[in-house]
């Protein structure tokens, strides 16, 4: 089996070890979906900045550019982990709402509560709800789509019951906490830093931990995962717990950022989270994709929303553009995957 690397593309697929380490890394990076989405994101930002430099240059513009996607960033990273296992979590919007309300109630009851503790409690509450989703999906052997659709109704119903028609406003939460909503370190908002640290950690975990890699295996072929002796149910439950925890955290971030919470916080955001993951290169049927890609996807979706009016497109058309973007992303994925599969099969003729 002598293999002369004629076609560079196939070489990267079939004989990556034959390439020098640096070339390999570079080529993998250049072909990665993360990079292409990031480039689109940069183009969007640049286009908006040319029209209106304030979009990036002014201190508020810069802060909002980073702050606006923060919540979706967290949700998309959590959603990625679930989608990688070939499931989906439609209840994240309701979990966010519950956690945001919980945060408000906590501060009303204990105004002296350290903000850190609010983040911990919010995430823990989200993790608990994620645990419910995960256990029912994994051990009930029922499709995640249906279960999380059901729990979406249930969790939202709980927030509604709890919150009723009231609203927790900024004046009812301590300033220490609300300041976090806009606090900056070296001009970078604290909430954004928190979200980025978490996204990077989740991405790193998925790449370098055994259990992280097992999530990919479970989604790539669930039956094979059982034959391998992988703890499939535990991994699925774990994925839902992580997604729930991040949604819970996003709820606390929501409370800090917007300063006002009512029972409808986070309504409908679950589709955006799924869309961000899909745009960021996460395959909807599991097995591939990164949390980083999803985060960039989230950044792109949210930034497009605020950039469109700058480039003169009425914001009524934003959603249409987002939809077109999602479809373009999955069509592109399919085309690339089909090309790769074909190359791999044809390469068998030559070997």
């Amino acid at each position: 089996m002598t293999h002369t690397t004629t076609d560079e593309g196939t070489a990267l697929l079939l004989e990556p070890s034959a390439l020098p380490a640096r070339t390999r890394l570079l080529k993998t990076l250049l072909r990665s979906r993360e990079l292409s989405v990031a480039i689109v994101l940069l183009i969007v930002v640049a286009a908006a900045a040319i029209k209106s430099p304030d979009f990036v240059v002014s201190s508020d513009g810069w802060r909002d550019l980073l702050l606006t996607p923060t919540i979706l960033l967290l949700l998309a990273a959590g959603q990625t982990v679930v989608i990688i296992t070939r499931n989906v979590d439609l209840s994240v919007g309701s979990i966010l709402g519950l956690s945001a309300w919980l945060t408000g109630e906590l501060f009303m009851a204990h105004p002296g509560l350290p903000p850190v503790l609010a983040f911990v409690i919010g995430s823990a509450a989200g993790a608990g709800l994620g645990l419910i989703n995960g256990v029912v999906v994994a051990y009930g052997k029922v499709p995640a789509l249906v279960i999380t659709l059901g729990t979406q109704y249930i969790f939202r119903g709980i927030v509604l019951t709890w919150a009723g028609s009231s609203l927790i406003s900024a004046s009812q939460m301590p300033d220490r906490f609300l300041k976090l909503g806009t606090a900056q370190i070296f001009t970078i908002p604290v909430l954004f830093i928190i979200a980025m640290v978490i996204v990077v950690a989740v991405g790193y975990y998925l790449q370098t931990a055994r259990s992280g890699r097992e999530l990919y295996a479970v989604g790539s072929d669930p039956e094979a995962a059982v034959l391998y002796g992988l703890p499939v149910n535990r991994r699925v439950v774990g994925a839902f717990i992580l997604s729930g925890a991040l949604a819970g955290l996003a709820g606390v971030v929501f409370a800090a950022r917007y300063g006002t919470v009512n029972s409808s916080a986070g309504t409908g955001i679950e589709f955006q989270a799924v869309a961000a993951a899909v745009v960021g290169g996460v395959a909807i049927f599991g097995g591939s994709g990164t949390a980083w890609g999803a985060a960039i996807g989230a950044g792109l979706l949210m930034t497009i929303n605020s950039a469109l009016p700058m480039v003169g497109i009425s914001d009524f058309w934003q959603q249409a553009l987002v939809g077109a973007l999602i479809i373009a992303a999955i069509v592109l994925d399919r085309v690339l995957a089909a090309r790769q599969a074909r190359k791999l099969i044809e390469a068998r003729d030559e070997s």
Partner: protein, 322 residues
């Protein structure tokens, strides 16, 4: 009439006296402190009259969800529905049906088309509301420069009416002020917040924002208070004192306006009761008493007017709690 052949048909429409008074308050959506205040006023009034009060409403401010609650109230043969409409037309056929089964319809805060209701309780004359906000802002920004409007939903009747009047006022009395943009926050806190951010970015020379909606002005104030535009971009509009107190005190907002929503709810409840027990029919010139608020007369277009809006500022905001 046609559909009303059920078991509990009570014959006479209008329910004269002997039928217990039951009034359903149906705000645009739940979770809105403005409606909390008005419904509280309504509740007190209804209970004072010895009737049963109930407050129902959808989660989000959409007309289709409101229709279901109108239907339910009609099924229960409620004496009257007191409604703030999410769409002037979309709730129309449901209201017509409710009317035909004997329920009186009072709108408040946001009206429907006139044929669908018996009475509209107007918080303030649209002209008065528009003028208060425009003149207020003009004074704050020195009567010239770019301003923008942050409204609720694109279809909110009252908002659109006020915006039209504001435009006329601007043209007539403030030629140097330029309205550069109107954006819609859908009475959603997060959306309004993000729209404010976008407004400031898109219009670097913006000098003022008018937000004629309580959700919008609070969100905009919160954004402004943390941005470098605080104190440079003026903000006014319609808001509740409790929500705005903080921003008036920290200087983000100089003055904003509102009528007293509790009084509005009270007046609507008394009007509904008067209709239900046949005291008035809603035609121009009808008179009724609204408890402590005193006597009111139905004006043109079957409308009752509460009064002029109040301005809230550093000096008087401490006197209010709603």
């Amino acid at each position: 009439g046609k559909a009303d052949t059920g078991t509990s048909s009570d014959g006479e429409s209008g329910g004269s006296g002997d039928k217990p008074l039951s009034i359903v308050f149906l705000p645009k959506n739940l979770g809105n402190p403005y409606f909390d205040a008005s419904d509280a006023g309504g509740k007190k009034a209804v209970e004072a009259l010895g009737g049963t009060f109930s407050e129902v409403g959808p989660q989000t401010a959409s007309p289709d969800a409101q229709v279901q609650y109108i239907n339910t109230a009609a099924q229960q043969h409620a004496s009257a529905i007191v409604l703030s409409a999410n769409d002037p037309k979309a709730v129309g056929s449901a209201l017509t049906q409710a009317k035909s089964s004997g329920t009186k319809i009072v709108t408040f805060d946001s009206d429907t088309e006139a044929q669908y209701r018996d009475l509209f309780v107007n918080q303030a004359s649209p002209e008065g509301i528009a003028k208060a906000q425009v003149d207020g802002l003009a004074e704050q920004i020195g009567d010239s420069g770019e301003i923008a409007i942050l409204s609720a939903s694109a279809n909110a009747t009252n908002q659109n009416a006020w915006i039209d009047l504001m435009k006329k006022d601007l043209q007539a009395d403030h030629p140097d002020i330029k309205l550069v943009d109107t954006v819609y926050g859908n009475d959603d806190d997060q959306t309004s917040f993000d729209k404010t951010a976008a407004l400031l970015k898109n219009h670097p020379n913006l000098k003022g924002i008018i937000s004629p909606t309580t959700v919008g002005i609070a969100a905009a104030a919160r954004y402004l208070s943390t941005s470098k535009s605080k104190g440079k971009v003026a903000l006014t509009g319609l808001g509740t004192p409790n929500q705005m107190r903080k921003f008036v005190e920290d200087g983000t907002v100089t003055e904003f306006y509102l009528w007293n929503p509790t009084d509005l709810g009270t007046l609507a409840a008394y009007a509904a009761a008067a209709l239900a027990n046949g005291e008035i029919t809603g035609k121009e010139g009808d008179k009724f008493t609204a408890g402590d608020l005193g006597d009111y007369t139905v004006g043109a277009d079957n409308t009752v007017l509460l009064g002029d809006p109040t301005g809230f500022n550093k000096d008087n905001i401490g006197d209010f709690d709603f």
